[in-house]
Symmetry: C2
Subunit: 267 residues, 2 copies
Amino acid sequence: MSKPAEHRPPGKVWLVGAGPGAVDLLTVRAVRLLAEADVVLHDALIGDDVLSLAPQAKHIAVGKRCGKHSTAQRFINQKLIHAARTHARVVRLKGGDPMLFGRAQEEMDALAAAGIEYEVVPGITAASAASAQLRVSLTRRGIARSVALLTPRAGEGEHPSQALRANADTPTLALYMASHESMAIARKLMSYGRDPATPVALVENASHPASREAFTTLQGLSEQPIGALLGTAGTPEGPVLVMLGEVFREILQQHTLLWQDNSTSAA
Amino acid sequence: MSKPAEHRPPGKVWLVGAGPGAVDLLTVRAVRLLAEADVVLHDALIGDDVLSLAPQAKHIAVGKRCGKHSTAQRFINQKLIHAARTHARVVRLKGGDPMLFGRAQEEMDALAAAGIEYEVVPGITAASAASAQLRVSLTRRGIARSVALLTPRAGEGEHPSQALRANADTPTLALYMASHESMAIARKLMSYGRDPATPVALVENASHPASREAFTTLQGLSEQPIGALLGTAGTPEGPVLVMLGEVFREILQQHTLLWQDNSTSAA
């Protein structure tokens, strides 16, 4: 593995999707690039088992979870450019897929402006992992020919409801980074005309052994915070994907029946 | 590897996403399951290099590309159940991600009805692979907080424009299985109010060495068939992902400038 050197041409950066969390849901290409990397700049949510795929590389945590996004992003861009100027092979490891809610464009633009070569390696996004875990297809003939992936988090100059309003009618919705505002989101979707009886599936930490699932309706989502629905005390620790649509009706009914059975046995 | 046996309990089925085509974009889990499989039932579009990951398994092509979907699907379900009743480890290998446009629900329902155990392994979907190849993020702060994945193919009891109408306002669209109807789709999206100047990116065979790309506007998409835009004679052989939205404005402008430069040099 090459050593840092300030005076040679810059190295190359791979923006790599780490997938949802399970280490064997990384792609073969991602595993190879991690094994060959000199430096890995990674999000806060990337697990130690994934990072152990790059044992010889320098690991730099650059993750941010909430807070001052813009400042943090500029800091990450600088770190990334510095890493490429001092190392031959730099992996920027992002949870899920870099091209979906990964703010990869800002990092790619910064690399291009600095004259640094880069490539993108796709990863499994949370919606694919969560639906695989639930064994519910996000699309289904006769029920859902489209799925919208969205985040209610607003950027500068955006209204937070914009993405919700544009997709209120999409048959299947997968909401990323929505757990803090889930009650307000549910109320908004109903105010845009979405049926309060629409089935909702929540998956925390999709693909992890410690994953939690919960099922409710849009009305139910509007009435309790995510933590209460998932049976955790307070805010869930892991990322939660909020999914909704008619494709989840059967799994909701199964869990409702199960719950009724348990209540009857307990009574 | 276990031999077929008609009289023991049924085996287990893994519905596995093969990703967009590049063999190193399979997940580590998919590669392991293929190596351990007794039978692999695969779509028509799965490449020989991917199938060679299961050299000891029986390979059964069950893919359909167009035509009588419902009949074909019942036939696939029967083949899958038969395979699980005669083999211990069955992999059902699907292009992309099984839970997105893979008709996995029909296969899972058939397996459940037959009392056969199954799991789903997610794969890289074409939208992730195509955007990685183009190095354009599908979401972007201030421009696109949501992306809709959809197909204009209609099922029984559905109107073909349903998915298009529900998502006409979504900032980024990725249209699967849309190449045969691309001109009509573009006209419909414009009739639903989408700006004719909306940038469009076409990617045939995302992630393959033989991938082709083309860039135009929604107006341009309405005026020429996909093959002409991609520079192929007739219909493209590989699957084409049609993507559109403001996130593609920069790459469209770069290609337009390149084209103008070439025209000027040639003149």
